[in-house]
């Protein structure tokens, strides 16, 4: 595992006027280059957690450290430059009137020179394969395309971490696949750390590590395979395990000799084929 980028130390957070803790004594680390999925049912505190990381809320107690410096009102702008966020609704985070304007928005805010800006906008759009849409208006784009532009807007600032806060939950299956594919490619290409906050365990299955949140606390932490073994426990938390995992388990119960846990459909199909050829 890479170097520690972010660490949360006994973080507590209450929304104003609420007695219960939205985040209750949460501690974990985020390492360089990993894909961390934070999953949980509605109201489990996972989105609040994302907002804490970005300095959109401040912890009531406990410390969040980003790249060695504590996240406070004074360091929040630096933290926001290092941690980019993609939100749920593709429309409500598109600020610019055209694709290029939107990607440039974050750069403008950080006072980047115009010539450098133009180059970075182009490069960021190329990375998400949206460079052909440079002067398009947002209402001509699909949800998946808008989210890719939002990712480009984050990339242009050259952050260390990108947080996807339910970024695929409002997309159709194709848009979702597009966005996840883009993120996967980016993660492979350079050292970008991905934190995806989701209730979709199919998406979480692609991560290196999963943190399960429940009632504002870290419920479990582990690799996707470890987490999906919890089956009934996850269902109790209002989460559902991916279809391929479910099918694999059901087949095992009928007495089929499957050896591995399967996170993806392809893996399962492959083993079934191998098994079939042996029969």
């Amino acid at each position: 595992m890479g170097k520690k980028l972010v660490s949360l130390d006994h973080v507590v957070f209450n929304y104003e006027g609420s007695d219960s803790h939205a985040i209750n004594d949460v501690s974990f680390d985020i390492y360089e280059g990993e894909w961390l999925a934070i999953v949980g049912h509605n109201g489990s505190g996972k989105s609040t957690l994302a907002k804490l990381l970005n300095g959109l809320h401040f912890a009531s107690s406990g410390v969040i450290t980003i790249n060695g410096s504590e996240l406070t009102q004074a360091t929040v702008w630096e933290a926001r430059r290092k941690i980019g966020m993609v939100f749920q609704n593709p429309d409500n985070q598109f600020v610019g009137t055209t694709v290029e304007d939107d990607v440039a928005f974050g750069l403008e805010n950080n006072g980047i020179q115009q010539d450098i800006m133009a180059e970075r906008v182009k490069r960021a759009l190329m990375k998400v394969k949206m460079d052909a849409f440079l002067d398009q208006e947002p209402h001509h784009l699909s949800g998946g395309q808008k989210q890719r532009v939002a990712i480009a807007g984050v990339l242009a600032l050259q952050p260390d971490i990108i947080i996807l806060d339910e970024a695929t939950s409002m997309l159709d299956p194709r848009g979702r696949e597009e966005v996840l594919e883009t993120v996967r490619e980016l993660k492979e290409e350079n050292v970008l750390t991905v934190v995806s906050i989701t209730h979709d365990l199919e998406e979480a299955a692609k991560a290196d590590r999963i943190i399960v949140m429940n009632k504002g606390q870290v419920h479990r932490e582990g690799s996707p395979i470890e987490i999906f073994r919890l089956e009934d426990e996850l269902i109790e938390l209002g989460l559902d395990i991916p279809f391929s995992v479910k099918l694999s388990k059901a087949l095992q119960k009928t007495g089929l000799d499957l050896k591995n846990d399967h996170l993806t459909e392809e893996e399962l199909v492959k083993e079934l084929c191998e098994l079939h050829s042996k029969m």
């Binding site: 907002k51 970005n54 959109l56 702008w77 926001r80 430059r81 980019g84 966020m85 939100f87 609704n89 429309d91 409500n92 985070q93 598109f94 600020v95 610019g96 009137t97 055209t98 290029e100 304007d101 440039a104 928005f105 974050g106 750069l107 403008e108 805010n109 950080n110 006072g111 980047i112 020179q113 115009q114 800006m117 133009a118 906008v121 208006e137 947002p138 209402h139 807007g153 984050v154 600032l157």
Partner: protein, 265 residues
């Protein structure tokens, strides 16, 4: 349908007017509006006409778009013309019809005023036909920049305008969706007495407002997370460039103004 309503105003073309700096265009239109009031006889109105037609030819905008711009004010033009004919009593009587007398002065004045109206509308619609709304916003921001000294929130106003422009299609789409959803629940938007139709707007507006506020909040969060903290220390991606072309057209307007001043009676 949406495209036509919002962006139908802008007609993309490769012309000298399109390529002008939006600041130059805004100033040109503003000064033209002032200059036109100098015209008061046939010669000066002729010069204004030549200038306007010149601009139209330079812009390569098909006349039907300009005609569309004139259509809504056509009635107003006719009305002012008639008003002048009926009520301006100067010069000789050229037409007598019972109690109705039409004077030479009235006819002249009516024609001049309606021409002035027409030229004004033509030139201002040329501005919106050849400039994208966002360029107009950029130009305005730059032109109004000096007012920042007096603590006028110019940057904020420009940002508000550009965000409104960006959200018009989104909100139109939403309106359409809500309309369909309410129609499915039995709301009738198109028929019935006026009172009922106005009433049926309420179930359309309420959800639209609620969702707009939600959008605004989310947008603010997204902007903040992308490092927006006001106009201070902010650079601009869109750069405006003032060229010889802009100087030439401004010069042409100055020449027009001087000529009008000399030739007016």
């Amino acid at each position: 349908m949406m495209d036509k309503m919002i962006f139908g105003r802008y007609v993309p073309a490769d012309s000298a007017i399109h390529k002008m700096d939006p600041r130059a265009k805004l100033m040109l239109v503003f000064l033209f509006v002032c200059t036109i009031f100098l015209a008061n006889n046939v010669v000066t109105y002729g010069l204004v006409a030549i200038f306007t037609i010149g601009l139209i030819i330079l812009s390569k905008i098909p006349p039907r778009f300009l005609y569309n711009g004139l259509k809504p004010v056509f009635l107003l033009i006719v009305f002012t013309f008639l008003l002048h004919i009926l009520f301006t009593k100067e010069g000789e009587v050229i037409f007598e019809f019972g109690i109705l007398n039409i004077y030479e002065g009235g006819l002249k004045q009516g024609a001049f005023i309606s021409l002035r109206f027409t030229f004004l509308i033509l030139v201002t619609s040329l501005l919106t036909l050849t400039t994208t709304p966002i360029s107009i916003t950029d130009g305005m921001e730059e032109l109004l920049n000096p007012f920042k000294k007096w603590k006028l929130p110019i940057h904020e106003l420009a940002l508000m305008m550009s965000i409104s422009l960006r959200f018009i299609p989104t909100l139109m789409e939403e309106t359409d969706k809500i309309m369909k959803a309410q129609a499915a629940r039995g709301v009738d938007f198109t028929s019935g007495p006026l009172k009922d139709r106005v009433k049926s707007i309420v179930p359309l507006l309420v959800p639209l407002f609620v969702s707009s506020f939600k959008r605004a909040e989310e947008l603010a969060t997204a902007m903040e997370s992308r490092g927006y903290r006001g106009g201070e220390g902010r650079t601009k991606y869109r750069q405006l460039s003032w060229n010889t072309r802009d100087n030439l057209l401004m010069a042409a307007l100055v020449v027009l103004a001087v000529l009008l001043f000399l030739l007016r009676s």
